[in-house]
């Protein structure tokens, strides 16, 4: 009915759209009746009576009816849009979860978050104004013509001739607007991106004493844009002169002249002529309504299209219901990648190609490779936020496609390099891993993660607010919170993305102790950045451009003289290089 993707419209939305629409449509006849009554009043006055006094009761009812309809009209619009927004937010979130972190990079989640917050507010207009008012605006001339016809068919015919005026008016002003906005768009975008840039780079501008100059530049840019636009508008808006004049002539003047002509023929009473004149005013009200929804609707349509496009994105994981091989087994799990190939949508070459590897129960495997070699993709495949294009992944010999998604994710505890902290308390953030964890469990987990002492040192303890708008935790603390989450989850597989450089001397020891505890008796996939941790692994896998380049124990790889061995060599080279640099006296200039 609405010509919108069904996913944006819930039954509740539809119900309220209908309520608003019906109320809006019902308002039109009440207005027509009002004007007709005013006409009849004049006839009655000619006959010497005050009809309004006689009809007081009926008119009171009319007034209340109009008020009630206006209330319903507005309420319908509001409810429709508020139901719609609630639903759209939910849909977006569900889709975010479905697409998962494998597909949605950091940049995209930021964009989507913007659409789901600021963007969704524009849907307000879309549902309230656009869907209801467009139909009301279309119905008004139809109702009016019908009313005119029933008063006098000749007047009705002439009025009918004036009906195309409205679309004409809207069409031509829309065209003019589009032309101007297109011409302007580029300049406008440039100006506003320059402004954004200047606000964000303000400190840099100040350091170079460029703040004021930049401000003047922007002012000049705005002025140029304005002059350009106003020159265009000067001509484009001249149509208003003719259109307003046209309206006055074709709706009001024609209605008046034809009605009086018909009066002369004895077909109409004077009161009916007055009613016709008053009704002609309603034609121009259509314009007001259209003006409202034309711009608001355009913005909403843009957002709606964006949302639909996002909802249409195909989830990378088939949502089939697999089997659940029972509750969390107390033993470690064996994982096998068999000829796994994966290409990101839109990418021209695979992120992983023919990868085969096995993680034996209780084995710790270090995964190394430069950025872009496919390490993150392996993690995402393991968590099944991505699915291989070909090949398969097996858990204890069972292909993952036969397993329930929930079961797989229950098996894995992820300790990312940059854990996400939700705005909320530390306790809230820990309970992400286990909904009804008791206080005692939280204490135990944070003790194991070496975070408890810190929590105790804060005034609010577990109730300390963290996350974007709370207190910032240091990188090391956040990491340990992630480890505590992993303890609470107590999954047989641990995927650990080792923190890189920003670690302090003090944190180092704590973190190592916590990790040692966490990985005990677990199958561990370690995305490693330190020689010492790599050396502790039972096996090392080197990824290179999506291919498995080397795999084996440390000794084996060193003996092989491949990438890993080369890496160790380069590391030593650089060290000796910088050392010699440090002692070279030539550098200390001045």
């Amino acid at each position: 009915m609405l010509g919108v993707d069904d996913r944006l419209v819930t039954p509740a939305t539809l119900k309220w759209v209908k309520v608003g629409l019906l109320a809006g449509l019902a308002t039109i006849p009440t207005t027509i009746v009002l004007y007709y009554v005013l006409g009849l009043t004049i006839d009655a006055a000619l006959a010497g009576t005050n009809q309004i006094r006689d009809w007081l009761f009926v008119l009171t009812f009319l007034v209340l009816l109009k008020a009630g309809l206006a209330w319903l009209f507005r309420t319908g619009q509001f409810r429709a849009s508020s139901e719609a927004k609630l639903n759209v937010r939910d849909q977006i979130y569900q889709q975010v979860v479905k697409l998962g972190p494998g597909i949605l990079g950091k940049r995209r989640t930021g964009e989507i978050a913007n659409t789901a917050t600021e963007g969704v507010e524009y849907l307000d207009y879309y549902f309230s104004v656009y869907f209801v008012q467009i139909w009301v605006a279309i119905a008004i001339p139809i109702f009016l013509c019908a009313a005119m016809f029933s008063i006098d068919w000749v007047v009705g015919l002439w009025t009918l001739a004036g009906v195309p005026l409205t679309p004409l008016f809207v069409g031509s002003s829309a065209r003019g607007f589009r032309r101007i906005s297109k011409q302007n768009e580029e300049v406008k975008n440039r100006n506003s991106s320059q402004y954004l840039d200047s606000i964000q780079g303000m400190s840099t501008l100040k350091m170079f004493n460029e703040g004021d100059r930049r401000g003047q530049q922007m002012e000049a840019g705005n002025e140029t844009q304005r002059q350009l636009t106003m020159k265009l508008l000067l001509v484009a808006q001249f149509q208003f002169v003719f259109l307003e004049l046209g309206f006055a002539l074709f709706s009001t003047a024609v209605a008046m002249a034809v009605a009086l002509y018909r009066w002369s023929g004895g077909f109409m009473t004077p009161g009916e002529v007055v009613a016709v004149v008053l009704l002609s005013l309603e034609f121009s009200r259509t314009l007001l309504l259209i003006g409202e929804f034309f711009f608001a609707g355009a913005l909403g349509r843009e957002v709606a299209a964006k949302v639909i496009e996002f909802l249409n994105e195909k989830a990378p994981v088939s949502a089939g219901v697999g089997r659940n091989p029972g509750a969390k087994p107390d033993k470690a799990v064996r994982i096998e990648f068999r000829n796994v190939t994966f290409t990101y949508p839109g990418a021209d070459k695979p992120a992983l190609q023919n990868l085969s590897m096995t993680l034996e129960p209780n084995e710790t495997v270090a995964l190394i490779g430069r950025s872009g070699s496919g390490k993150t993709t392996v993690t995402n495949l393991l968590l099944r936020t991505l699915e291989p294009d070909s090949g398969e992944i097996l858990f204890d010999g069972i292909p993952e496609k036969e397993l329930a998604l929930d079961w797989i994710r229950e098996q894995i505890a992820l300790v990312p390099q940059d854990p996400f902290l939700f705005y909320g308390t530390i306790a809230d953030n820990l309970r992400v891993a286990k909904e009804n964890a008791t206080e005692a469990e939280l204490v135990a987990a944070t003790k194991s993660a070496e975070l408890y002492d810190y929590i105790r040192s804060t005034p609010d303890g577990f109730a300390t607010k963290v996350g974007d708008q709370g207190m910032a935790l240091s990188g090391g603390q956040a990491q340990r919170l992630a480890i505590a989450r992993a303890f609470l989850k107590n999954a047989p597989i641990v995927v650990l993305d080792e923190p890189t450089s920003q670690i302090d001397v003090e944190t180092e020891t704590l973190l190592n102790r916590a990790l040692a505890r966490l990985t005990e008796n677990k199958t561990v996939l370690l995305i490693a950045h330190r020689l010492s941790t790599i050396e502790q692994a039972d096996r090392i896998i080197v990824l290179e451009g999506g291919l498995l380049a080397e795999s084996g124990t440390r000794q084996a790889l060193l003996a092989q003289g491949g990438i890993y061995a080369g890496m160790i060599r380069t590391k030593r080279d650089i060290e000796s290089q910088t050392h010699s640099h440090g002692t070279a006296p030539a550098v200390a200039g001045g």
Binding site: G48, A67, L69, A253, A257
Partner: protein, 612 residues
Amino acid sequence: MSVEATAGELPGTGKATNLQIIRRLLTYMTPFNAIMFTSLTARVVKIVAQAAVLGIAAASVGLYIESATPGVVNWDVLWRQVRWIALAGTIVGFASYIENYTGHYVAFRILAAFRDKFYYAMLPLAPARTAKLQSGDAVSRVMTDCERVEPFYAHTIAPAVAAISVPIILLAWCWSVHPTLVWALAPFYVATTFVLPWLVSKLGGDGIRYREQLGQVNAFVADSIQGVRDTVAFGYEKRRARELWEQGASMQAGQEKLYGADATQRALAEIFITVGILASAWVGVELALAGQISTLVELPAVIAVSVVGFYVSVGMANNYTDFRVSIIAARRLFSMMDQPPAVVDRQQGATSTGVESSIHFRNVHFEYDADDVDWSRQKKVFDGFSFDIVPGRHVALVGPSGTGKSTVVNLLLRQWDPQTGEIRIGNRPLKDFSLVELQKFFAVVSQRAFIFNESIRDNILLGRHDATQADVEAAARGAGLAEWIATLPDGYNTACGERGSKLSGGQRQRVAIARAILKNAPIVLLDEATSSLDVETELGVMRAIRNLSKGRTSLTIAHRLSTIMDSDEILVMLEGRIAERGTHNELIAKGGWYARMFEIQKDEVDATLVKD
């Protein structure tokens, strides 16, 4: 931070009354007074002429009927009346044209002017008070707020003025018809124009509570989406989705009041309008029956004119929501603009030329304000901090994060002032110089150099805006950029993209170095200039940095110790004081924090070291 703060409300301007905010918004309009006045006049003329069109048409009924005999069409009267309508219609057209044109002018100018005002207001506050503007989301919120202020000028003032002045003009006309009409109609106009908006504001409140709730829900939504990896990994998504729904639903409940008030206002407006029209008819009929006015000329005209008048008079109430949103947005922006600057500038000061490029911190005590949580987790940074750098020396500052290394740079640039103690350049206290003069001492390269969405040339020119192309090229060569730029089809005109997105991390830092070279300042400050780069890239950039520092005093803050080993002196900062100092070899021999950290870092393998 409190929940109120998350909704963007800051203390200070928060207490300003709506009237004060309106007055302030109006003062911003002063340069546009003439054009605004034209626009308003055109609007009023347009509506009065519209009333005239309908009034003439209605009056024509009587004029025609009284002069015609039934059965014969009196074309003369008909044509005369149509011509009158055409005249009024032409006035409507021209007035509408002028109104639209000037309205656009004001809308264009005001938004731009308001943004400029905001920019200039924030300039002295950066960066101490603009931490929030570092995130793209926050900036886009500010931009949205600026846009929300625009309707105040574009859609609030004009309808309000029209809602007041048009009824007055129409009543004046009614007076000329018969004074009794005025007494009957005036109360209804007062009700629709003034009582209605007042009633709505009483019913719906000021909407601040709703904006706060919306802010919370939006923060929750954004958090949920951005945390999707950790959500999915811990099976938290169903709970999160439920909570998200509940929050939305509870906000919906909170909106009821606001929405209810708006719906009630529409209903009341409908009552006032309809009853007002009927009242005008009633009084008109009574006057006509009493023979005071003509039944077919004046009575229809009075009814027609009052219909137009009443529709206009609700303009104020109908735009009340827009108005309210504008005020809330303006309040938020003003509260940002009105923060006191962190440092007080002086208009006249010493000149920077000829001042020796040594740096002295003398017993500096410094802590960030409570509001500055974005800058440091620790409030108290320095408690009696002193150190000196001899001109021409290359000094490095290292230590754990959060010990105040970057604060040293912030204080040197006078982005903040220490509470007590003194910082000097050469022999002059920093406060002797104006801020503009002070910046001339320093060339700064920070961790994530800000690259503007402009050409490479423009970005380098930031160092010295009147530099020649040869200067720019020399700077690019010094920064190790020249060869890369030579391979680009557009060369120096290549656009850098949003925040330098079309450049790699290393290239961005090099552009910043080229800027610094071009600036040719005596002191070079490197604040984690290479920390966000991988080791391989870092080595290359370090060479460019050596070019930059040559012959100048330099202070380097670094995380990777391998990059500062060759400094003349290394200062180790622990908990706001210098714990160790000496050359690399001396510190290694000492076996303290530096030596231990150096050991840990030796252990790091950067994956990018894997060579083909």
